[in-house]
C-alpha cells in the first residue's frame, strides 16, 4: 500500500467525493469529516514512513500515459512537498469540521474533496503535464466555491480569479512545451518528467525566456505585485472555507512551483532575475502592507497581509542558498497555518455579525475573551513574534537573502514594522476600547465547533515555533539537494558565485547532458 500511497492520497478524496453524491444530506457532514480524517491520517502515515535523511524523491510512482511523447504519470515527494501535502490534508479536514451551516452543504463538502484531490496532485506530481492538469483543475472547485457561496460580487470575483490565473497558466504551458522540445532536441527523446529536465543544462539565453514564461504562471498564482489584484476580490467574496483553503494551500502552489521548476531548471536565469524579483518582493511587502493598513474590512486586511507575507517567501526563495530556501518553505507552512487561522477567525465574527467592517466592532475583548486571545496569538504569529511558527520562516528567509544583498534585505525587513502597524491597528479597532455598538453586547464567544479548528492551529503555531526541527530537518535536506543541483548546473560565473556549493563536491559536467 505504501508503494501507491501518493495515488491513494490523491484519488481517495475524489472517489469519496463521487460516493458522496449518494450520501444522505443529513449525514454528509459526518461523512466529510470521516473522509478528511482518513486522508489526514494517511498523510501522517506518509510522514511517518518518510525517510528524512534522504534528500531525493520518495514514494515514486511511474505509469506511462502517452509514452511516445514522454508523458507519464509520475508522482513523488521530498521534504519540500511533504509538509504542504500534510497541510492540505489537515486544512481540508478542519475546514469541513468547522464548516458553518450553509445552503447546499452536500455540494460544498463534495467540492472540497475534489479540491483536495487537485491540491495534493499538484504537490506530488513529478511530470509537467500531470502537474499542469492538477494545477488547472484546482481552479474549478475554487471557482465553484466562490461563485456559488460567495458574497454579492461573487460572479465578478470568481471569473476574475479564474481567468487571471488561467491566462498565466497558459503562458506557463507554452513554456513547458518549449522545455520538452528543447529536451527532445538535446536528447532525441520526448520527456515531460521533471527529474529528467533537471539533468538538462540550457544555455543562459534559453533559460531567460523559459524563466519568464514560467514566471507568469507562478507569479499570478502567488500572487506577486502587480498581479495580485484578483486576490482581495477572491478573498473578499469567498466564503470562509474558500478563503482558508485559498490562503493556506492554493497560494503556496506558486511559491512551491518556483522551487520545483524555476530554480533547478534555470539556475542562471534565477540569478539573473534575482534582483528584479527581490525588488518586486519588497514592493509586495511594503506596498501591500500599507494598503492593508488602509482597509476598512478586516478580511481585506488579512488578504493583503497574505500578499505581504508571500513577498517574504519569494525573497527567501530567491536567496538561492540553503538558509533562505529552507526558510521560505517553512514560511509556506507557517503562513498557511497562520493565515488560514486568521481567515477562520474572521469567519467566526462574520457568522455572528454578518459584517466584516472593523468600524462595526470595537471592544470585542470584553464579550469574547477567548476569541480575543486566539486572535491575539495569531496576530502575534502574523507579525513574526519569535517562538511562533512564522518567525522561523521569516527569520531564515531574511537571513538567507542577506547574503545576496544587504540593502534589499534592510528594505525587506521593514516587513516586521509595517506588519506590526496594520495588524496592531486592526486588533485595536476590533477588540480594544469600549463596546460602542449594541449588537456587540450579546455576542457569544467561540463555540466548540470553532475551537475544534482553532485550538489545533494555535498549538501548531506555538509548537513549531519552539521546536521547528521535525519539519525543518527534512526540508533542509531536500533544499540542500536543490541548491547543490543549481550550483552544479549553473553556467555563468555570477551564478556559480551566488549559488553556494553545499557539499563541496562538484559533479563533473560531462556526466550531464547539454542542450545543443
Amino acid at each position: 500500500m505504501l508503494d501507491h500511497i501518493l495515488s491513494i492520497l490523491i484519488f481517495f478524496p475524489a472517489l469519496a467525493g463521487i460516493l458522496g453524491f449518494m450520501i444522505d444530506k443529513k449525514s454528509i457532514r459526518a461523512y466529510g469529516i470521516a473522509v478528511g480524517f482518513v486522508e489526514f491520517a494517511l498523510s501522517l502515515w506518509l510522514w511517518f514512513a518518510f525517510d528524512s535523511n534522504v534528500s531525493g524523491m520518495q514514494f515514486m510512482e511511474n505509469l506511462p500515459l502517452i509514452p511516445s511523447f514522454g508523458i507519464n504519470y509520475i508522482l513523488g515527494v521530498d521534504g519540500i512537498s511533504l509538509f504542504i501535502i500534510i497541510l492540505a490534508a489537515f486544512f481540508t479536514m478542519i475546514g469541513i469540521a468547522s464548516l458553518t451551516k450553509t445552503k447546499n452543504e452536500k455540494n460544498m463538502i463534495i467540492t472540497l474533496l475534489f479540491l483536495q484531490m487537485t491540491m495534493i496532485g499538484v504537490f506530488s506530481a513529478l511530470d509537467a503535464i500531470v502537474f499542469y492538469v492538477f494545477w488547472e483543475l484546482s481552479l474549478v472547485p475554487m471557482l465553484y466555491i466562490i461563485g456559488a457561496w460567495g458574497g454579492p460580487l461573487r460572479i465578478y470575483a470568481s471569473i476574475k480569479f479564474f481567468l487571471y490565473t488561467f491566462a498565466g497558466s497558459l503562458v506557463m504551458l507554452v513554456g513547458m512545451l518549449f522545455m520538452a522540445y528543447f529536451f527532445y532536441q538535446a536528447t532525441g527523446t520526448w520527456s515531460f518528467a521533471i527529474l529528467d529536465w533537471y539533468r538538462l543544462i540550457l544555455p543562459e539565453s534559453f533559460q531567460l525566456w523559459l524563466f519568464v514564461a514560467f514566471f507568469f504562471g507562478f507569479a499570478i498564482k502567488v500572487p506577486m505585485f502587480p498581479f495580485h489584484t484578483w486576490l482581495p476580490y477572491a478573498h473578499g467574496q469567498a466564503p470562509t472555507i474558500g478563503s482558508v483553503i485559498l490562503a493556506a494551500i492554493l497560494l503556496k502552489m506558486g511559491t512551491y512551483a518556483f522551487i520545483r521548476f524555476s530554480l533547478p531548471l534555470f539556475p542562471d536565469a534565477s540569478v539573473f532575475f534575482m534582483v528584479p524579483i527581490a525588488v518586486i518582493a519588497i514592493i509586495m511587502i511594503i506596498y501591500t502592507a500599507m494598503v492593508a493598513y488602509a482597509q476598512k474590512d478586516v478580511k481585506q486586511v488579512v488578504a493583503y497581509s497574505s500578499v505581504s507575507h508571500m513577498g517574504v517567501i519569494i525573497l527567501g526563495t530567491f536567496a538561492l542558498n540553503v538558509e533562505g530556501i529552507s526558510g521560505s518553505v517553512f514560511l509556506m507552512i507557517g503562513h498557511g497555518v497562520v493565515s488560514g487561522a486568521l481567515f477562520l477567525l474572521v469567519g467566526v465574527i462574520y457568522d455572528r455579525r454578518h459584517t466584516k467592517l472593523m468600524s462595526e466592532f470595537g471592544g470585542l475583548a470584553h464579550v469574547m475573551p477567548r476569541y480575543a486571545t486566539i486572535f491575539g496569538i495569531m496576530l502575534m504569529a502574523s507579525v513574526g513574534m519569535p517562538l511562533t511558527i512564522n518567525f522561523v520562516g521569516e527569520f531564515l528567509s531574511l537571513l538567507g537573502f542577506y547574503e545576496q544583498s544587504h540593502i534589499l534585505t534592510l528594505l525587506a525587513g521593514i516587513a516586521i514594522i509595517v506588519g506590526a502597524i496594520y495588524m496592531l491597528s486592526a486588533y485595536k479597532k476590533m477588540f480594544f476600547g469600549n463596546i460602542t455598538k449594541d449588537e456587540n453586547r450579546e455576542l457569544k464567544d467561540v463555540n466548540k465547533r470553532e475551537l475544534l479548528a482553532l485550538i489545533p492551529l494555535s498549538i501548531i503555531t506555538i509548537w513549531l515555533g519552539i521546536y521547528p526541527k521535525p519539519i525543518l530537518e527534512p526540508i533542509n535536506n531536500s533544499v540542500e539537494a536543490v541548491v547543490q543541483l543549481m550550483h552544479n548546473k549553473s553556467t555563468t560565473v555570477e551564478a556559480k558565485e551566488r549559488i553556494p556549493n553545499v557539499s563541496g563536491i562538484v559533479i563533473s559536467k560531462t556526466s550531464t547532458r547539454e542542450a545543443h
Binding site: 538558509e323 527569520f395 516586521i416 521547528p468 525543518l472 533542509n476
Partner: protein, 639 residues
C-alpha cells in the same frame, strides 16, 4: 547547579501559564500569591547561582535543545549563567518578586487581576530568556517577548483608548529598532558563521573595522529602541498609561535596561570599535540631559519618573560607551532598586489620590502617607546621588569614568544633568508631600497603602540605601569578564574636590527645589509668566517631538496608505487588469454586430475575408519570389 538555572528560568513561565488558566474567571487572590511565590523561587535560585559565581565557580552553560538548524546555521536553546547574566537575573527576579507581591494589593479591585499576573509573569520569563541566553537569537526571543508583554501590559486597561494607543506605539517603535537588531544579527551570522556569543566574540577579532562598525551600529539601533534612546524615546513616557507596578518593573528596572545589557554583553565587540562607543556615550550624555530637561516642567508624576529613567539610561549608555561596562552594569542594578521604589511609591500616591497624576493637585501628603513619603524621599536621594545612598556609588563612578577618560564635554553634561536630576526629583517630592494640602480642593481623602505593600517595598528601600557596599564585591566578580579597570583619578586632591563638589552642587539643587516648591500653595492655571515662556512651552511639549512624529510620520503614513489603496491599487493596478479584460470584452461587444444573423451581411464579410486572404497570398508570394531584390533595396536604404 543546572537545576537552579532551570528553576530560575521556568518558574516564571509556570507562573504565567498557571495564572493564564484563570484569566476568564473572576479575581482569585491565590493566583497572585502562587505567582509571587513562583517568582520568589526564581529569585532564590538566582541568589544561589549568584553565590556560586561569587565564589569563583565556573559559569554554568546548558544547551536544552535545537531551535533552528538549516544550512550552516545552528541555533540552540542555550543558556548561560555568568557574571553578567547572574547580575541581571538578580535584578530581574528581585524587582519582579517585589512587584508581584505589591501588585496583589495594587490590583486588588481590578477585574483583570488574574490576567495581570499572567502577563507580568510572562514578562519575567521573557526577560530571563533575554538575559540568560547564550546566543543572539535567544536574546532576540526574549527581546521580542518583553516587547510583547510590554504591549499587553501597557494596554492592560484595554478599554482606555489612550492606553492601547500607547501600547501600539511602544510595540511599533520597538519594532523599528528591532529591524536594526535583526540586521545586526544577520551581519554577525554571515561574518562569523555563528550567533553563539562565544563563537562570535572569538571571530570578531579577525574582522575588519568597517564590518565591526556596522555590526556595532545595527546592534546599538536595537538597543536604542528597547532603552528608548533618542529619537525612539517617545514611547516610554506614553507607556506610563499602564498600571504603575508595570512601570516599576518594565519601564524602570528591567526591560528598558535590556539595551544597556546588550551593549555590556557585546563588550568584546564594542571594545574593538571605540569610535562607535564614543558615539554611544555622546548619545547617552545627550539623552541624559535631554530627558532631564523634559522632567523639569512636566506635570504628570509618572512621566517625570519616566523621564528620569530615560535620563539614567543615558548615564548607563555613557558609561558603557566609554568602556566602563562594569560601571554601567552597576548603575543599572542600583538604578533598578531605587527607581522601582520610586515608581511603587508613586503607585501608592496614585491609589491614595484616586489616580490623580498632577503633583500640583497634591501637597502635604506626608501627614497621611508617612512611609511612602520616607521611601520616596530616600529613593530620590539615591537617584540624586547623595552619599551614602546607592546612586552615589554608581552614578558618581560614571562621572569619574568620564573624567578619567578625558571626555570633558560628556563629563560636564553628566555633571550638569546630576544637578537637574536632583532638582526635578525633589520638585516632585516637595510638591507631593510638602506644602499646602491642595488635594482638599478636589475632595479627595487620601490613605496610606496596605501594610503588606509597604513591607514588600522595604527590601528595595534597604537596597536603595545600602547598595553601595556591594560595589567592591561586584567589581571583583565582573572584573574577569568585563575586563574592568578601576577608574582612579591620579590625584587624590582632584578626586576629593570632584566628590565633594558634586555633592554640594547636587545638595544645592535639592535645597532650591525645596525652597521653590516646598511651600507651594496653588494649582497653576497656565497664566503665570513662567508657563508662558518659550523654554517652558518647549520643554512642556517635549520639544514638540511627539507632535512632529504625529504630524510628519503618522499622518503621512495614513494618507499614503489611503492613496496607495484607493488610487494606486484600485485605480492603476487593478484598473489596468480590468482594462485588459475590458478590451477583449468590448472588442467582442463591438464586433457582435457582425454576427447580425443577416445572411447577406455575413456573405459580404465572407467575400471581404476571401479578398484579404487572396491578396495576402499574392503579397507573400511576390515577396518570397523577389526576396533577393527586396533585401538589396533595403540594404541600399541603409536599413
Amino acid at each position: 547547579m543546572e537545576k537552579y538555572l532551570y528553576i530560575a528560568l521556568f518558574a516564571p513561565l509556570v507562573s504565567s501559564l498557571f495564572s493564564a488558566l484563570f484569566t476568564a474567571t473572576p479575581k482569585k487572590q491565590f493566583v497572585g500569591i502562587v505567582a509571587s511565590f513562583l517568582i520568589f523561587s526564581a529569585f532564590v535560585s538566582s541568589y544561589i547561582l549568584l553565590g556560586h559565581i561569587m565564589d569563583g565557580g565556573e559559569p554554568i552553560h546548558v544547551e536544552m535543545m535545537t531551535w533552528m538548524a538549516t544550512g550552516n546555521l545552528y541555533i540552540p536553546f542555550g543558556f548561560v549563567v555568568d557574571q553578567i547574566s547572574v547580575t541581571m537575573m538578580m535584578v530581574v527576579t528581585l524587582v519582579s518578586t517585589i512587584v508581584h507581591i505589591y501588585s496583589i494589593g495594587y490590583m486588588d479591585h481590578d477585574k483583570g487581576f488574574n490576567r495581570f499576573f499572567a502577563w507580568l509573569s510572562a514578562f519575567v520569563f521573557s526577560m530571563m530568556i533575554l538575559v540568560m541566553s547564550d546566543n543572539y537569537a535567544g536574546l532576540f526571543i526574549g527581546w521580542e517577548g518583553v516587547g510583547l508583554c510590554s504591549w499587553g501590559l501597557i494596554g492592560f486597561w484595554f478599554h482606555k483608548d489612550i492606553a492601547t494607543w500607547a501600547a501600539n506605539e511602544a510595540f511599533i517603535m520597538n519594532r523599528i529598532a528591532d529591524l536594526g537588531m535583526l540586521i545586526g544579527l544577520f551581519l554577525v551570522y554571515w561574518n562569523t558563521g555563528t550567533l553563539q556569543y562565544e563563537g562570535a566574540f572569538a571571530a570578531f577579532a579577525q574582522l575588519d573595522t568597517a564590518t565591526l562598525t556596522w555590526i556595532g551600529i545595527f546592534l546599538f539601533i536595537g538597543a536604542m529602541g528597547k532603552s528608548a534612546q533618542f529619537p525612539l524615546h517617545t514611547w516610554l513616557a506614553d507607556a506610563m498609561e499602564g498600571p504603575t507596578p508595570v512601570s516599576a518593573l518594565i519601564h524602570a528596572a528591567t526591560m528598558v535596561t535590556a539595551g544597556v545589557y546588550l551593549v555590556i554583553r557585546s563588550n568584546e565587540l564594542y571594545s574593538l570599535i571605540p569610535h562607535v562607543g564614543l558615539f554611544i556615550a555622546s548619545l547617552g550624555a545627550f539623552v541624559a540631559l535631554f530627558a532631564a530637561s523634559m522632567a523639569l516642567v512636566n506635570r504628570d508624576m509618572k512621566r517625570i519618573i519616566a523621564y528620569s529613567t530615560l535620563s539614567q539610561l543615558g548615564y548607563m549608555f555613557a558609561a558603557a560607551g566609554l568602556g566602563a561596562y562594569w560601571v554601567a552594569l552597576f548603575h543599572l542594578m542600583a538604578h533598578a532598586f531605587f527607581k522601582a521604589l520610586l515608581f511603587l511609591g508613586a503607585g501608592n500616591v496614585m491609589h491614595a489620590m484616586h489616580d490623580e497624576l498632577d503633583p500640583f493637585k497634591m501637597g502635604g501628603l506626608k501627614k497621611v502617607m508617612k512611609w511612602t513619603w520616607i521611601m520616596m524621599t530616600i529613593a530620590s536621594l539615591a537617584l540624586a546621588g547623595i552619599f551614602p545612598f546607592a546612586g552615589f556609588f554608581s552614578k558618581d563612578t560614571i562621572l569619574e569614568a568620564a573624567f578619567a577618560e578625558h571626555h570633558m564635554v560628556i563629563y560636564g553634561v553628566l555633571l550638569f544633568t546630576a544637578g537637574l536630576t536632583a532638582f526635578y526629583s525633589f520638585r516632585l517630592v516637595a510638591l507631593i508631600f510638602h506644602g499646602e494640602e491642595r488635594y482638599k480642593i478636589f475632595g479627595i481623602h487620601p490613605h496610606e497603602a496596605y501594610r503588606f505593600m509597604l513591607i514588600a517595598m522595604s527590601p528595595l528601600l534597604i537596597l536603595a540605601m545600602i547598595a553601595g557596599v556591594f560595589q567592591a564585591p561586584f567589581f571583583e566578580m565582573v572584573e574577569e569578564i568585563l575586563g574592568a579597570a578601576e577608574y582612579h583619578i591620579h590625584s587624590h586632591v582632584t578626586l576629593w574636590i570632584m566628590l565633594v563638589g558634586t555633592q554640594i552642587f547636587v545638595g544645592l539643587a535639592i535645597l532650591y527645589a525645596y525652597k521653590k516648591y516646598g511651600t507651594w500653595s496653588s494649582v497653576p492655571d497656565g497664566s503665570s509668566k513662567m508657563e508662558n515662556s518659550f523654554i517652558y512651552k518647549l520643554l512642556y511639549n517635549q520639544y514638540y517631538i511627539p507632535y512632529a512624529y504625529e504630524e510628519y510620520i503618522v499622518k503621512p503614513y495614513n494618507e499614503i496608505s489611503e492613496i496607495l489603496w484607493t488610487k494606486v491599487d484600485q485605480k492603476i493596478v487593478d484598473a489596468s487588469v480590468d482594462g485588459i479584460a475590458g478590451f477583449f470584452y468590448s472588442a467582442g461587444e463591438n464586433t457582435r454586430d457582425m454576427q447580425s444573423g443577416n445572411l447577406s451581411t455575413m456573405l459580404k464579410w465572407m467575400v471581404a475575408g476571401i479578398i484579404i486572404l487572396l491578396s495576402l497570398a499574392v503579397v507573400f508570394g511576390l515577396a518570397a519570389r523577389y526576396s533577393g531584390e527586396i533585401m538589396a533595396i533595403l540594404s541600399g536604404l541603409g536599413v
